[in-house]
């Protein structure tokens, strides 16, 4: 059987998280009711999601070009995320590490060349 006692720290952690998050939600509610600022209206009660209406028909038209740009962005963003740990550990990985990353960058460059030639970077 698994020895459950070693998971006590995570239980305490979850208890603290639960207590704190309840406090964050209920304390402002209680304070606003007690101080008299509790004054709901339609705008305050609606959900906020980045400025877009939160609920609408999902079958709306969506320009696929946004998707293409987003996916190209994600690839190069992740490449940057890879480069940081690679750069600080280069003294340990040495030449094999350097060559491997150059191969990776070369593959990404080929992918970009393909997307460019296929016209993925042209908006019109």
């Amino acid at each position: 059987m698994v020895d459950l006692s070693q998971y006590l720290p995570i239980l305490i952690f979850l208890g603290i998280a639960l207590a704190l998050s309840s406090l964050f939600v209920f304390l402002p509610m209680g304070v606003s009711r007690l101080t008299g600022t509790h004054n709901p209206d339609a705008e305050k009660l609606s959900e906020y999601e980045c400025g877009f209406p939160a609920f609408e028909d999902p079958r709306s038209q969506f320009d696929v070009r946004f998707y293409l740009v987003a996916i190209l962005f994600i690839i190069f963003d992740l490449e940057a995320a890879f480069l940081f740990p690679w750069a600080v550990s280069l003294d340990m990985t040495g030449w094999p590490g350097w060559i491997t990353m150059m191969v990776f960058l070369g593959e990404l460059a080929i992918g970009l060349a393909y997307a460019w030639k296929k016209g993925a970077l042209e908006w019109e």
């Binding site: 059987m1 094999p96 060349a113 393909y114 030639k117």
Partner: protein, 487 residues
């Protein structure tokens, strides 16, 4: 020095990845009109990769000399055997594709490139010596496969097949990763050799969950019951050359991977996973046999037939012996040739407007209207059913013999009963082709490449195949010895 040695060991993968990237650029600059030339170049890449893989198998390479990148990658005889089967299936899927897609005006230069990358991924899967390598190979193959499944993008069924494959493939990856993280958490290592050493004696509950979840994730990929539900829909909807590829290369790779994980990484815990494998084997045989009976579409029928065949292959795994592993490898080779033959034959069924015919009823009387095609399909169906003079019988025989030698007589008996049930629907197809009034719908002429592949597959599955049994036993023996050296 270690790094240079590793680079020499992954030569087949280097050929495929560099060649694939060059062809990708060629596809972008030359456009779709060059797709036939790119297909031919892709077949050449596969032949080159196979040529450098052959010495590894015939030399029976095994042991520490075959480990690249500190044991993360294994270039041993077992991997070489699986890779050669994969390269054959990949080349077949490339050769039959141009003619098929041209009738829909949908042949694109990306098809051969994606196929080369899918083959590269399956090659990495069978060479995995570490959970990380396993996952990279699996995803590399899967991502290319999702696109291939929906390659006829104006066809609704093809788009549906791609989406279904993607959603269920993502679910399978999630389950597999969950199992891998549990395994890592309870053993402290991701390497197969390390897990093998760590999992000795009594298995803790958490490690047991890890083992079971990893096997469940892999069962998705080999479409073993109860994780088979995506197979008929994907096989029916995907373009036929892609279906042929799905039923061969990724399946060979996933089965080889399951063997390596179960027999090597989890090799000390065979008693823990054996009951799971026995259940999956018997359930696959029964569902594959019963599910196919009601089918009217030949591609769906072949999908159930492939579920059925996976069940027989898993019977070999349940023995957890070297003889069982060797029998599985022999069965796999025969299964690949049966799949290639039957799907190429299905591809050649076209009506006067050269639309694909997929309903079994339209194949009525095929033996009188198209005798050669009818007889080739007959050989395939009877070989799949395992009727003695044909080569499919040999695959079943070696697997059952391994099960009996491992004292699993009840399992072998139940599998044989399942085999008899499945013979019913193969015989139904034969009866429709040979004894029903001709529907006279199959008209279209076929490419020479289709005929060549079909005739090779038919000869292989005919009684002439028995000339190869000694050769296959020798190669499968070398491959399974390499697998069991580490275990």
């Amino acid at each position: 020095m270690e790094f240079a040695q590793s680079l020499r060991l992954i030569l087949p993968e280097e050929i495929l990845s560099i060649g694939g990237l060059v062809l990708l650029l060629a596809a972008a600059w030359l456009g779709d009109k060059a797709s036939r030339a790119i297909s031919i170049a892709s077949v050449a890449l596969l032949v080159a990769a196979a040529a450098v893989t052959v010495p590894t198998l015939s030399g029976g390479a095994m042991g520490p000399d075959t480990q690249a990148f500190l044991g993360q990658f294994r270039a041993d005889a077992f991997a070489a055997y699986a890779k050669l089967l994969i390269y054959v299936s990949g080349a077949a899927a490339l050769m039959i594709a141009p003619r098929f897609f041209e009738q829909f005006r949908a042949m694109r230069a990306e098809y051969p490139v994606l196929l080369v990358f899918a083959v590269l991924g399956t090659g990495i899967m069978v060479s995995a010596g570490d959970l990380m390598t396993l996952y990279i190979g699996l995803e590399m193959n899967s991502l290319a496969a999702y696109v291939l499944a929906s390659f006829l993008r104006v066809d609704n069924r093809s788009a549906e097949a791609g989406l279904k494959y993607f959603v269920l493939g993502a679910l399978a990856s999630g389950i597999l990763l969950y199992g891998m993280s549990l395994t890592y958490g309870f053993t402290g290592t991701t390497s197969f050799a390390g897990i093998h050493a760590a999992l000795t004696g009594q298995l803790s509950t958490g490690a047991l969950f890890g083992v079971i979840l990893v096997l469940a994730g892999l069962a998705f990929k080999i479409s073993a019951v109860p994780f088979h539900m995506w197979t008929p829909d994907v096989y029916e909807g995907a373009p036929t050359p892609v279906t042929m590829f799905f039923s061969t290369a990724p399946k060979v790779a996933a089965i080889a991977l399951t063997m390596r994980v179960a027999l090597e990484a989890f090799g000390n815990q065979a008693d823990a996973w054996r009951q799971v494998v026995v259940f999956a084997a018997l359930a696959s045989i029964v569902v594959g046999a019963l599910g196919a009976i009601g089918q009217s579409n030949i591609k769906r029928l072949l999908a159930y037939s492939s579920i059925n065949n996976v069940g027989f292959i898993l019977v070999g795994l349940a023995t957890a012996t070297q003889a069982g592993a060797s029998a599985m490898l022999v069965y796999l080779a025969i299964y690949v040739m049966m799949s290639i033959g039957s799907f190429v034959a299905v591809l050649m069924l076209r009506d006067a407007e050269s639309n694909q015919i997929e309903s079994i009823a339209s194949m009525a009387g095929l033996s009188r209207t198209r005798p050669l095609l009818g007889w080739c399909l007959l050989v395939m169906m009877l070989s799949l059913a395992g009727i003695p003079p044909l080569f499919g019988f040999w695959g079943k025989l070696v697997v059952f013999r391994a099960a009996v030698d491992a004292d699993m007589i009840a399992l072998a008996t139940l599998a044989i009963v399942g085999s008899v049930i499945s013979a019913y629907y193969y015989l139904m197809v034969c009866k429709t082709m040979f004894f029903d009034e001709p529907a006279d719908q199959v008209k279209g002429a076929s490419d020479w490449a289709h005929w060549a592949l079909l005739l090779i597959a038919t000869l292989f599955n005919s009684p002439l195949g028995y000339l190869l049994t000694g050769w296959f036993d020798n190669l499968a023996g070398k491959a399974s010895a390499a697998l069991f050296l580490a275990a």
